[in-house]
């Protein structure tokens, strides 16, 4: 039986190791590795160790020689036993070594939630696993996990993201089980809790916005918004486009954290403490960008159809408006109507920029509802632009 297989694709080669590799079969393995390596001109090499059970020093030397020829060599799907060998011998410091994903079964586990992207199972007393339907979701899972981990370490109250696991053909993300209710649910159960919900969400929002990061820690929201604006270049009158672009370009660089999708469904209450969830939109920037997304959640996305917010957050348009108003008043600690409307204009300007780009990208020009939405954004932007001279507050 051969211990080596390979797959070549252009300049990329993946070599598969299998079973035990030790001094007895090392010469044979090396010969096969060389054949694989010489079958093309490769600049990118991966060694897939999924089926590798053991490797001795003779085998490790083969890896070193392969790396000498193709320095980008990385090891993937490394089982725990093999990882330990690589770790003690210092290989994990010399090259990129990725551990294999733990495999878990959810047979017989209680299903505690189901969303558009997957199902959530409770796997033991303290942990849940979210299993994603789309098998290609791994990069997104890892991205969100990394953002959540960074936020957690910075002291933002959120659930611990544990590891990524394999569940059959799918990937799953393991989290701590929260014994919590979303602010949306609290509000539906008890409408009189609105002031308390706003107070706690503003408190958490301020904590997020006072968390300073290092450049590059999280995506820069200003760059993202500039991208939205530039997308609209051919869809707005030149003068309006230029002003919008200048306004966004003039927003000061800011390395404080922004959640990016902050609303009552993404904040949970656990033992009197507000916890943040859904960390895939975390980024950093000046808070006006946060307020643009908050405006959209409570008003912007429902500007034409007030029923949208009920479908999305389970509350009426009037209640959503009340939350938005009270959030502004509390966060900025003012009842000055003029100042509040100025802040709102700034949030709306970015909010409608985003909705317009979204509608166009979602084929909006080809549906009646889409055209109405794009037209509404155009009208809103045309109204707002003369009133706004800076996006800072």
């Amino acid at each position: 039986m051969s211990n080596v297989n390979f797959k070549a694709e252009g300049s990329r080669i993946t070599v598969f190791f299998e079973g035990h590799i030790d001094s007895a079969n090392a010469p044979q393995v090396e010969q096969e590795v060389n054949q694989a390596k010489n079958s093309g001109a490769f600049t990118d090499a991966t060694l897939d160790c999924e089926k590798l059970e053991y490797i001795s020093s003779a085998g490790l030397r083969i890896i070193l020689r392969l790396r000498k020829d193709i320095p980008t060599l990385r090891l993937i799907n490394v089982a725990p036993e093999v990882y330990e060998i690589l770790d003690t011998t210092g290989f994990t410091e010399m090259m990129e070594v990725q551990k294999a994903y733990r495999v878990i079964s959810v047979d017989g586990c209680e299903v505690i939630g189901q969303g558009a992207n997957g199902k959530v199972y409770r796997i033991d007393r303290d942990t849940i696993v979210k299993v994603y339907l789309n098998p290609d979701s791994l990069p997104d899972i890892q991205r969100e996990r990394e953002l959540a981990r960074k936020a957690f370490v910075m002291g933002i109250p959120t659930a611990i993201p544990y590891d990524v696991v394999r569940v059959g053909e799918s990937f799953g993300s393991v989290f701590e089980l929260l014994n919590a209710k979303s602010f949306a649910k609290l509000l539906t159960n008890d409408p009189s809790s609105l002031d308390e919900v706003v107070r706690m969400s503003v408190e958490l929002l301020k904590k997020i916005h006072s968390t300073e990061l290092k450049p590059g820690d999280m995506p820069d929201m200003k760059a993202i918004v500039l991208g939205w604006v530039e997308f609209l270049r051919d869809h707005l009158p030149a003068g309006q486009y230029e002003k919008l672009h200048r306004l966004v370009a003039d927003v000061p660089q800011d390395n404080h954290m922004i959640h990016g999708d902050y609303h009552i469904k993404n904040v949970m209450l656990q033992n009197g403490e507000a916890l943040l969830i859904d960390m895939d939109t975390l980024c950093m920037g000046y808070p006006v960008f946060e307020f643009a997304s908050i405006y959209n959640a409570y008003a912007g996305f429902s500007d034409l159809n007030h029923e949208n917010v009920r479908r999305f957050l389970g509350i009426s348009y009037e209640t959503a408006n009340e939350i938005w108003e009270k959030t502004l008043r509390l966060y900025f600690d003012t009842d000055d109507e003029k100042r509040l409307r100025e802040i709102e204009d700034k949030a709306m300007l970015i909010g409608f920029t985003r909705i317009m780009r979204r509608s166009i990208r979602r084929n909006g020009f080809n549906t009646e509802a889409g055209r109405a939405e794009i037209e509404n954004c155009r009208r809103r932007l045309a109204e707002l632009l003369p009133r706004v001279d800076t996006l800072t507050f």
């Binding site: 960074k150 957690f152 370490v153 002291g155 611990i160 993201p161 701590e176 656990q270 033992n271």
Partner: protein, 98 residues
């Protein structure tokens, strides 16, 4: 969870036993708040700790921040389960684990 404190001059040793979770984290938080004045060396002994949740980790993070200003904090006797949680969450880079 049981919290056992032993103080010797400006060194404070706190041994934790049981589960440090949402329910018990506030207890430890309150205990630390009342005990850290004038402490230059804080040792947390996790020998008897069987589980730590995010609420518990945040209390450790908070204690670490306090101790950064007034001395040092050391975590000792970390078992495999807790150690794995420190690894996964990146806490092993923030805490001093013996």
């Amino acid at each position: 969870m049981t919290i056992t404190k032993t103080q010797q001059g400006s060194s404070l040793n706190i041994a934790l036993e049981g589960r440090l979770d949402t329910i018990t984290a506030p207890e430890l938080e309150a205990e630390l708040k009342n005990s850290l004045d004038g402490v230059a060396g804080l040792t947390l002994d996790l020998k008897g700790l069987s589980y730590i949740s995010s609420a518990g980790l945040r209390v450790l993070l908070c204690a670490q921040k306090t101790m950064n200003k007034q001395g040092e904090m050391i975590i000792k006797n970390v078992n495999e389960t807790i150690s794995e949680i420190f690894m996964i969450t990146g806490f092993c880079d923030i805490l001093t684990i013996e």
